[in-house]
Structure formats: C-alpha cells, structure tokens
Subunit: 331 residues, 2 copies
C-alpha cells in the first residue's frame, strides 16, 4: 500500500521498485496493482513492433522525445520475448540514455521473457497499468515483430505501429501478413536507404489484401490515394504508410500527428472503449485461469499429480483423460 501511495505521488524509486515486484508477481506487487487500478485509464498505449534491423528502438526514442516536447510524460516498455538472457533490450536502453536520461518525464523499463504461457503479455499489461496510474500519459510498448506473443502484446495497445525497413530479406511477405492485420500505422524507417519504394509498394499491396474494403473506396474515389495523408471515411481507419529516418528525426512530426489522429478516431467511434474492454476481457480470463488452477492444485496431493503424469508417460491414458480423472475424482 505504501509503495502504491509513493508511486501515485511521483516517487521514481518507488516506481522502479514496484515494477520489479509486479514483474516478479510478488504478493506485494499484486496488492499494489489492485490499489493502483482505480487510477488507471488515462494513458494512451502505443505498441511499436518490428523485426530486428528496422531501427525500431531509435524510432521509439524519437517518438519519446517528440512526445516530451508536446509536454506529456512518457514511459517506454521494451519487451524482448526472444532474448531471455543476453537482453538486446538492455543494450537498447544504453543507447537511449544519452537522449532521454535525466528527464523525469521519461521512464524506461526493459522486460525479457521467461515463465509461463501468456505470461509476458500479462506482465506487460500489469506494467502498463502501473505507468498509467503513475501519471504517464503515453506508454510506448516496444516489441520485436513476428510471432503470437507480439500479436498478443499489440492487442494491449490502443494504437499499434508496425515498423519496416527497406530491403530486409527477400521473402518478408510471409511474416508480414499477420502483423499487418494488427497495424494501425505503418512506418518505413531508414527511408533514406535504397529500396524504399519497393517496400512501400509491397506494404500497400498487402494492405489492400488485408483491408479489401479500401479498394472499393479507392475505386469510388472517396478516399485519397494511399499515403500519410489518407483520410479515413465513415468510421473506417485506413492504416497510413509513413516514411521516417529515426536517426535524424525526419518524418517524426508526421508520425506523431498520425498517432494523434488515430487516438481521436478511436475516441470518436467508440473503439477506444471497445479495445479497452477486449483487453480487460483477456486479463480477466487469464486471472480466472490462474486462480482456478491455484485453488485446484492447492487441494491435490503431489503424489496424485505425479501418478497422473506417470500414467500419461506409460501411455495408459491421454493427458486429457488423466485431467478428467483427476478432476472428477476430486468432486
């Protein structure tokens, strides 16, 4: 409780301490989360996802600087699910420190994966809640693209930015399709490199596949040609494709503007609340699963579990049958 109070008062040390407890899922962390929850709901959660090599950390850096210039406080949550022990994210932080350190309106937190099913997305959700309660108006959630965990994490966000770069491998198409589905804004970073036109064309083609309705709009001339200036019509958000050069800041103002437009769009058509609801539904389901498991296992002797596993390994019964036996036996 004390910790939660200190966090609400803006104590950075308490914030760092609480984040660790939340990440480690300690009882104190859980309690503080519950205490902070009523203070959440103000932050704009922005997911930034992209493959390694797209320069997405630099982009996040620039976004944070830009958001600070607008006078908002910003937290960065760098999630690296594929790097459990050497931590590319940690390296990223070092680079960031040069531009962002010493600014009390910025807080950076790196998380590496580990642990159970869905654990990372759940922990990330909890971390964002802490930042939200602590008064950070914008929370940037940075993940390495590709894979279900990124999609899960992207679902946390109000706005999801997918970052590409020119000439990253020859068959990026396969990996992109799923990611495109979750993109609210597409960014081609390193846009000063050769191949940017090819990448842009490929992205726009894939976008048309992913959002077939857009094609119709184009045929009827109701939507301007696809680019950063595309105007959504009739409640439809068409992901803009923007170019940036994060190393020198080119394109960042346009990106910040697109982010603001997207937030306004979500609020005006009710999607802001819908996305929030979907997020709470997911967290609710997860907590329910956890709690049911905890309660159930607390009443099952270890030997019973052991012998259930043994009967599976001996192929006497399938995992589902073993579970069914165990549950029905108990009730």
């Amino acid at each position: 409780m004390e910790l939660a109070q200190s966090v609400l008062k803006g104590d950075r040390l308490a914030l760092a301490r609480l984040l660790s407890r939340v990440e480690n899922d300690t009882p104190e962390g859980r309690q503080a989360l519950d205490a902070l929850f009523p203070h959440t709901g103000r932050a704009h959660l922005i997911g930034v996802t992209g493959a390694p090599g797209t320069g997405k950390s630099s982009l996040v850096n620039q976004l944070a600087l830009g958001i600070r210039k607008q006078g908002q406080r910003v937290a960065i949550v760098a999630v690296d699910p594929s790097s459990p022990f050497t931590g590319g994210a940690v390296l990223g932080d070092r680079v960031r420190m040069r531009d962002l350190s010493g600014d009390s309106g910025v807080f950076i937190r790196s998380m590496a994966s580990r642990g159970s099913l869905g654990g990372l997305a759940a922990t990330t959700a909890a971390i964002t809640q802490v930042f939200d309660a602590a008064g950070f108006e914008v929370i940037l959630i940075e993940t390495v693209g590709a894979g279900q965990s990124e999609v899960d994490i992207a679902r946390l966000a109000h706005t999801t930015i997918v970052v590409e770069a020119p000439g990253l491998g020859d068959d990026i198409q396969a990996i992109k399709a799923g990611i495109l589905e979750i993109a609210d804004i597409l960014v081609i970073n390193k846009a000063d490199r050769p191949g940017v036109e090819t990448t842009e064309r490929a992205l726009k083609t894939m976008l048309e596949l992913a959002h077939p309705v857009r094609k119709v709009f184009r045929h009827h001339g109701q939507v301007m040609e696809l680019n950063g200036e595309t105007v959504p019509q009739e409640g439809l958000w068409i992901p803009p494709v923007l170019r940036t050069v994060a190393t020198d800041g080119r394109g960042i103002p346009e990106l910040l503007e697109a982010i603001a437009r997207h937030a306004a769009h979500l609020r005006s058509n009710g999607d802001w609340a819908r996305r929030e609801r979907a997020r709470f539904q997911a967290e609710f389901d997860l907590r329910l699963q956890e709690m049911l498991m905890e309660r159930f296992l607390a009443n099952v002797p270890a030997q019973r579990l052991e012998s259930a596993l043994e009967s599976i390994q001996l192929r006497k019964c399938s995992p589902r049958e073993a579970v069914s036996l165990l549950i029905n036996d108990k009730n």
Copy 2:
C-alpha cells in the same frame, strides 16, 4: 473411434480428416486423440525453426527426402504463427509437392495460427500425436523463428534445429540469443552465399555465451574445435554448427547424421524421457486449465460475467479483484 481405427490402419484420407478435426478441436477429434494416445511414443520429433529468408522450407524438404531414403516414414507439420490469413505455409507446400508428392511415406500438414493463448502449441502437440500414432517415425515441425510461440513449439521436439543464413540483417544478434538457447543443432543454410564465415563466427561466439561450460572444455582441450565433428563429452551436448545448401542438397547427409547422433545422445543419457515428460507436463497443465475454466464458466450466469467486466471498466475493482469476487461468491 472409427476414424482412429482407420488412421491406425494407414488410411490417408482418414488421417487428413482427423487432422482437421483435431485442429478444430471438435469432440470427435478429442475422442480420436484419446483413442490414439496409447499408440504414440515412437516418433522422433524434430523442430526446425528459422527466420523467413533462411530457406528453412527447402531444408525441411531435403531432410524429408533424406529420411525417406533411410526407409523411414516422415510427416511435416508447417506452423506459421505470424501468417493467419495469407498463409506462407501453403505456398511452401506447393513447392514441396514437386519432390514429395505421390510418396505415401510422406504427409505434409500446414497450420496457421488463430485462436487462444497457447492454442497453437497445444494444437501442434496434438497433431504430432496423430502422426506418431499413425506410424510416422520422424515428424518435422517447421516454424518461423523468433517469438515465444516458436520457443513453445520447439519445446515439443526431441531435437531442435535452428536455421540461419548468411547476411540476414545487421543486428540479428538480439533475436538470436533466445533461439540459441533452444538449439540442439545449428544450420547455416545458403552456405554458398557470401558472408557465411561471418555468420558462423557470430553463431559460435553466441554459442559460447549461451553455453559457458563449453569454453572450459575448449580450454582443457577435451573437446575438438567447434564444428560439425564436435564430440560431446560426459553427457554434455554441444550444438554443432553445420553448413548446408538446401537447393542442391549439400550438407544434408551431415545434418541427418547429426540428428541421429542427437537422438542417440538423448536416449543414452535419459533426456529423451525427460523431454517427453516436460512435454506431457505442459499439456497436462493446459488441459487442466481448459477443463477447470469450462466447468467453472458453465455454472456462472452470463450477466454475472458481464457485470464483473463492467466493474473493471468502471475501475471499481481490478481484474484480479473481480475474479476473486466471482470465485468466492460461487463457493
């Protein structure tokens, strides 16, 4: 039951039909899985994971051909978690058909993601059980690298092969670290391309970081220099780094040999059974979660759930508190 019997008799049509039911998690699929489970336990599960552009599909193709030449039946499960709707995997199949179609000792199944938390890994596990029971001696599980879902899927396998290619992006390091931890065998495919030495050096350096004990071994001269010929000592498996050119088959015999050596290694030191047990433990936990949720929700009126979610959205209570209220209310 009929379906399961037909699958055991080698009926390919029944096999295809059952795989669909298992993938869709139908009651008939579940029943058949239970019936088939006692017939599992013979297959060697081999995970092959790598980023797009590494040519891992061609490599899997070549491995399947090589395994067929050894007289074993082989199934390929192509999992593409990032491609839920355009399906790169489907395209991969077409290419494969040329070499492998018409051979009744080969069966190829593509799976795209969708659905719930951990769903893909669970479904993949179920699919491999069907193939195992159907008498396929080797099951190749192909996934796009990077991300927790791949790590989860790799955990299914007895042997995990991580595929790289020369010159894929400039900061692949970050993404590789986590993947390396799960690699039993490292393959640099497209080894006829420039940059292969650099990639090999980078991989070996990262391997030393991931397996510090190796360094000691090297210092004491008890293990030969790191390459395909490295001999594991005292129960320690040191992931070999192999070069292949899947398009013309170079390096495939050496890779098959390394796979066989790894299987022998796992069997001799007890890791085969340990990995199997870990797999069953994970599946057991997942089924237990599912079943507890099903049973619990069956007895909760929809309005109760609705009002729990509403109180979260109104910030009256946190997701955890809402769950706690719901559970305690019920008992």
